[in-house]
Subunit: 305 residues, 5 copies
C-alpha cells in the first residue's frame, strides 16, 4: 500500500530510526480502517494477567480464548493487537499475517500490591513471534520507577536494533507526591508523556487527563502561564505538545466510563485536541462481539472524522 | 508411534513452538499407559528437598534411592518423571531411554520460611541430562513473585530455544491478600493457571480448587456472573477455561486426602471437568510399591475413562 | 579548521586518550563562536525530564519542540548541545552535522524524591546518534553515589573505547553531611570537581560555589591554609586547581539568578578565576529566542574577553 | 593404578558425569593410604581465613606456611588437600603432582557475624591451579541460603563442564528454626546431606550428628517410623541413606573432641555406619607434625578396617 | 637489569603466576633506589578522592597537579606510584616509562560515611594505561566486606590473566566487633594480612599494629601461646608470619605520626621485624618537595640497612 502524506509526515518525525523500524511503524499506521489517516487504535489484552481471568472475561466468556481477541482486532479493522507472551504464542501462526502485534514485555498481577511489574517477555521473543513492536509499562513516581526505566532503556535499544517499534504505557503511580486523583491530573499526564518521549518511545499510551493539577510547583506554572486545561480537547492538545510538540504518537485509553455516550464524548474530545488515537481494551472484550464491533466502528469514525 | 487425533489437536494449540519442542511434548503425551489419550500423569519427586528425607521417605525406605522413582514412573506407565538435578544425575543413563524426564530448576527447603525457591538447575543441565523439559515453581502473591517471573522468563526463552517444554507449578502464596484458605480458592487457582499460561508454560500445575472465593473484587464477579463453582468438576472446567479456553494442558495434584477413596473421587471430579491429568508425588512414594502401582492404575483408568 | 595553540594545549592534557576521543574533544572546542579560544559553552536540555514539560517550556512554548534547542545551540554559536535520548533522536539527522551533541545517559524526574537517576541511554545509542560524547550525573554524598560511580566507571571505559568524550555533572547531594547550603559550598564544589576528574571525566560540570565551608574537617584546613574564597573569581580558581591544577575542563552553571546583570556578573567572576566555560540551560530556553540569543552573545563575549 | 572394584562401584553411581570428572574423582579415590578402598580422608585448611591466623596456627607455628599442609597431606597419605586460593597458589607447582587438590571457592571470616561467605575463587582458577575439584559451603537455614545455592548451581555446572568434582560443605545454620543444638541434630544433618546431594555434589561434608531431633515435623516422623538414632553408627547409616541411599560420598568432621580417644571413637562409629570417610582440619595442624601423622594413621586404619 | 638473589627468592614464592605477572612484579622490585634489595616503597595518592583536594593538597599546593606525584615517585627513587584512574590518565604518557604504576580500582570519599568504596577503574583500564598492577581496598569486618571480596575475586582473576600484579589494602573496619582501637590491634592486622594473602594478593598493605588485642577469642590464644607483641618489630614479624610465613610481600603505612623522628622509628621497627617495605602517601606530599625527598631518602636507607 502506498504511504499517504499523513503517514509520511509521521515517519519523518522518527528520523533516526532504521528502515526496519520505520517499516514496522508504517505497517501499523497503514493497517485497518484507519490505514493512512495517521490515526491508530490498538487493542490491548493483558487484563487477565492484571485482574484475573474471571474479572476480565466472565462477562463475555468467548474472550477466555486468545483467538477471540486476534479475530476482534482483525474484524474491527484496528491497527494492532497487543498482549503478553502466552496469548501471542497461541495465535501468532493463525493470525500473524492479518494484524500487526505488540508483545507486552512486562505485566503486573493483583495478587500483590507491589507497584512494579514482572518481566514476562523479551525482544527475542517478539522477533520470534513476528511482532511489529514491544510494549512496556512504567510507573513514574513509584519507588521502582528508575529500575523500570533502566530495564526499558536496554529493551528499547535492543528493540530498535532488531527493527521493532517501542510502545510505552506511561502510568504515574505511587511515590510521595501522587494520590489517586494525581494519577490522571493533567500536569502528571503531560509529564508522563514527556518522560516516555525522552526514553525513546515511538508510541506513548497515557490516560485521559482530568483538569486537576497535582504537583504544587507545576500548578503554579499552569496558573501563571494561563495554560488552558478547561476542556478535554485543550488538555489533549497540551499532552500532545508535551510529547515533543506532537512529534510522537500519543494514544489514550477511554478512562472509566459510565456509558457508551460518555466514552464517545471522551474520544471526540481527545480527537479534537489532536490525539493520535486510542488504546481500548476492557471496553471491547467485556461486551458482546457485535456490540464491541459497533462501538469500535463509532470510535474509528471519530478518529477518521 | 503414530500421533493420535487427540494428541495432534493438543499440539496444534502450541502453534508457535519449534519442531524440537513439539517433539518433546509429543514424547510425553505418547508415553505410558495414557499414551495418545491426550491425558497425562507426571511423577514429581522433590519432596526430600522440600520437607527433608525422613519426612519424605521413611514411610517407605526404598524411596531413599532415586532409582526407585525412575522405576516407579516406568513400571506404572506414567508419562514423565520430574525431579531436581541430583536425583536425575543418579539415573539418567540407567533409565533415561525408558521415561521422559523434567528437570525441576528451582526448589525450596523447610529449614527456612522464606517464600521463595533457590535455583537448583539450568536449561543447560536439562539438555545435558536428556530431559524433555524443565519445571519451575512460582508463588503468585509472594513478595518474590516478580523476581521469580523475571527468572522464569529467561529460562522459558532458553528452554524453547533448546527445544524443551516448560512445566510451571503455579502456587499462589504469601502477600497481603492470601491466607491459607485463599491458596486453594477457586478464583485464585484460576488466576494462577492464567498467569502460568501467559508466561508461556506448556504444562501448568495447580492445586485442586475449593469453592472458596478469596479476592473481594473477584468474588463480586463470580456472583454477578453466576459462575458455577459448586462441584469440583465445574471448578476444574473453570480452571481449564482460564488456561486459554483449554488451549493449555493443566495438571492437578490430589490435594490433602484422608483416604484413597477420596483421592479417586477428587481425580474423577477433575477429569469430569476436563482436567488434562495429574501430578502425584507424595501419595505415590509414601506407600508400598505394590500399593502405589495399584493406586496409580486406578487413577490412570479414571483419566482414560 | 586548524587547531589553535590554546586548544592544542588543552588536548595535551588528555594525553592518554585515543585519537578518536581527542578529535571529538577538538570538535567541541573548535565549534561555534568560542572556537579555538579554549573556552566553551554547552546548552543542556534535560529540564523537561527533570521538572516536567510545562514547568520547563510553558514560558516559551516554542521550546516544547526538540528542534528548537538544536537551532538555538547552532544559531547562538555554542560549542555543543546535550540532551536525553528522545530529544536527540528527534533531530540528529536534521541538525547533527551542524553542532556536536552529548547524549545524557541518566536523568532524574521530580515525581519521586529518590536521590538517584535512571539510566536513560547508552554508549551504543550515543554512537548510533553520531554524538561527540556522553553525559552523566553523579550525586556525591547520596546513598546511591557509589552505585552511580560503579556504573559511570563502566560507561566511561566504554565511551573512551568508542572514541567519545565524557562529561560529568558532579552535584553533591544527600547523605549525612550535606544540607542545602552545603551543596554549593566552595569546599564541596571543589571536592565534586576533584572526584569527577579522578573518575576520568574530560569535562566537568559544577555549580558556582558560594563562600560557605561545609565539612568541619575541610573548614579547618581552608582557614589554616588561608585559602582565599572571598570572591567568586578566587573560588573558581580554587575549583580549577582542584581539577588537577587546571588540567581538566570545568564548566559552571549560572546558578539561581534574579537578573541578567547578576548572571553576567557571575560568569565574569568565574571567567576571571579561569573557568573553562558555562553550561546554561533554563536561562536560555525560558525566555524569548531573541532575548536568549542576545544573552548568550553577552556570555560568549565574557568568555572570549 | 588399576581401579579396584570398590572404586568402580562408586564411579558407577556418578553415571552422568563426563570422563574428565570421573577421572578426577578416581584420582582422589586412588590416592594415598586409602587408595582403592572406596574410603577417603581430605585435609581442609581454611581455618586461618575463618578464625584468624593466630587462633589457627600459633599452637604449631610451622603451620603458618602453606607448604606445611601440602606436605602433611602428602606424608600422611591422605586423599586430597582443600584450601582457598592464596594457599594453593603458594604450592601448586611444588606439590601439585603429589596430591589432588580442592579449591575452596567461598569462605567466611570472623570479623563479622553475617551468616554468609564471600566468593574467594572460581572454577577458572581451579583449572589454572590443576585442582581435581572445587569446594563450596552452604548454610541451609540461613537467610542467604537460596542466594548461596543460586551461586553454587552456576559453579557446579561450570565445574562439571570443566571436568572437576564438586565438594559441598553442608552446614545448617541460622534462620528461624535452628539453634546451636539444631545444627548437629540428626534430622538436620540428614536433611543437609540430602540437599547437597540434590544440588549435584559429588562429595558431601557434614558434621557428625547427635541424637537430637530439631524440627517438630521431622521429630514426629522419626518417632512414628521408629528410626534408630541411638548410636552414632545408626545415625551415620541414616545420613548415608539420606544421600541417595548411599549413592553419594559423605564425609564427616570429627566434631569438637576432648581427647584423641573420643575422636577415634567418633570415627569408628561413623565408619561402622558406612561413612565414606573424614574431613579433618584443625585436629591435624594444631598439634605437632609427628602427633598429627600418628593420629591420621589411626584414623586411616579405622576407615581401612 | 639482572635479578638479584633476593628478588629471585621472592619471585619463587609466586610460583603459580604466569611469566607476565612475574615480570611486572620484578619490574617493581628492580626499580628505584631499593632495586634488587627485595624491599619496596610505593607512593599512593588517592587522598584527594578520600578526603577532598584542599585537605590533601593545600599544605603544598604544587601537589594539586598529578604530574607532581609522578615526579616525586621518580625523583625519590621509589618502586611504584599508585593512584586512581584520572590521575594516571594525566601522566601515563609523560612518565609511564620512568616508574611502574598501580591503578587503584576502588575508592571512598568522605561526603558519605558508608563503609564501602566505589569501583573507579578496571583491569582493562590498567592495561590501557600500561600499569604494572591493580590496587584494591577491602574493609574486613564491614557489612560490605563479602561483597567487596566477591568483586576483588573477579578483578584478581582478570588481573592475573592480564599479567598484572594485585595489591590489596586490607583495612579492617566496621562490623559488630571492631572499634577504632581494634582497627590497628595486632590480632586484627595479622588477620587482615592473612585474608589478603588467601585472596591471592601479591602485595599486601596493612597499618602498623599496636599491641592491643581486639577479639576475645584471639586474645586468649595470644596469651596462652605467649605470642610476643611487646615491640613493633615483634608485631611486624607476627604479621609477616601471618602472610603465609613471609611468602607474601607486606607493606606498612607510617601510621599517624607526630614527628619525623617517630615516623623513622616506626619504619625501623617494622624493618627489624622483616616488613617488606612501606606505602607512604600523605606524609610525602603534605610537606615541601625537598623535605619529602629528604624524608623518603631516610626511609629508603632504613629499608636498605
Amino acid at each position: 500500500m502506498k504511504l499517504t502524506p499523513q503517514v509520511k509526515r509521521i515517519l519523518d518525525n522518527y528520523e533516526t530510526d532504521n528502515a526496519s523500524t520505520k517499516i514496522n511503524l508504517a505497517r501499523v499506521l497503514m493497517h485497518g480502517k484507519l490505514a493512512g489517516t495517521g490515526k491508530l487504535i490498538i487493542l490491548p489484552v493483558d487484563q487477565g494477567m492484571e485482574h484475573g481471568p474471571a474479572r476480565s472475561f466472565a462477562a463475555n466468556p468467548a474472550a477466555y480464548d486468545p483467538h477471540y481477541h486476534y479475530k476482534m482486532a482483525i474484524d474491527a479493522g484496528l491497527n494492532a493487537y497487543a498482549a503478553p507472551l502466552g496469548a501471542l504464542e497461541c495465535g501468532a501462526i493463525s493470525y500473524g499475517d492479518q494484524i500487526p502485534t505488540i508483545l507486552k514485555l512486562n505485566n503486573a498481577n493483583s495478587l500483590n500490591d507491589v507497584k512494579n511489574q514482572a518481566i514476562t517477555g523479551s525482544v527475542k521473543e517478539a522477533v520470534r513471534l513476528g511482532c511489529a513492536g514491544i510494549g512496556y509499562t512504567i510507573y513514574p513516581g513509584s519507588d521502582y520507577c528508575y529500575e523500570q526505566i533502566d530495564i526499558l532503556q536496554e529493551l528499547t535499544r535492543e528493540a530498535k536494533e532488531s527493527g521493532l517499534i517501542v510502545v510505552v504505557w506511561s502510568y504515574p503511580r505511587g511515590g510521595p507526591f501522587l494520590d489517586k486523583a494525581g494519577e490522571t491530573a493533567v500536569d502528571i499526564c503531560a509529564y508522563a508523556a514527556h518522560i516516555a518521549a525522552q526514553l525513546g518511545a515511538h508510541i506513548i499510551k497515557v490516560k485521559p487527563p482530568t483538569s486537576h493539577l497535582c504537583l504544587p510547583a507545576a500548578k503554579k506554572v499552569y496558573e501563571e502561564q494561563k495554560i488552558d486545561v478547561s476542556t478535554l480537547a485543550k488538555r489533549a492538545e497540551h499532552i500532545m505538545q508535551s510529547a515533543f510538540a506532537g512529534r510522537r504518537l500519543v494514544l489514550f485509553s477511554g478512562g472509566e466510563q459510565t456509558s457508551e455516550a460518555s466514552l464517545f464524548e471522551t474520544f471526540q474530545g481527545l480527537k479534537d485536541g489532536g490525539a493520535s488515537g486510542a488504546i481500548i481494551g476492557r471496553n471491547t472484550f467485556q461486551r458482546k462481539r457485535e456490540d464491541a464491533l459497533a462501538m469500535l466502528d463509532k470510535i474509528i469514525d471519530i478518529f477518521k472524522g
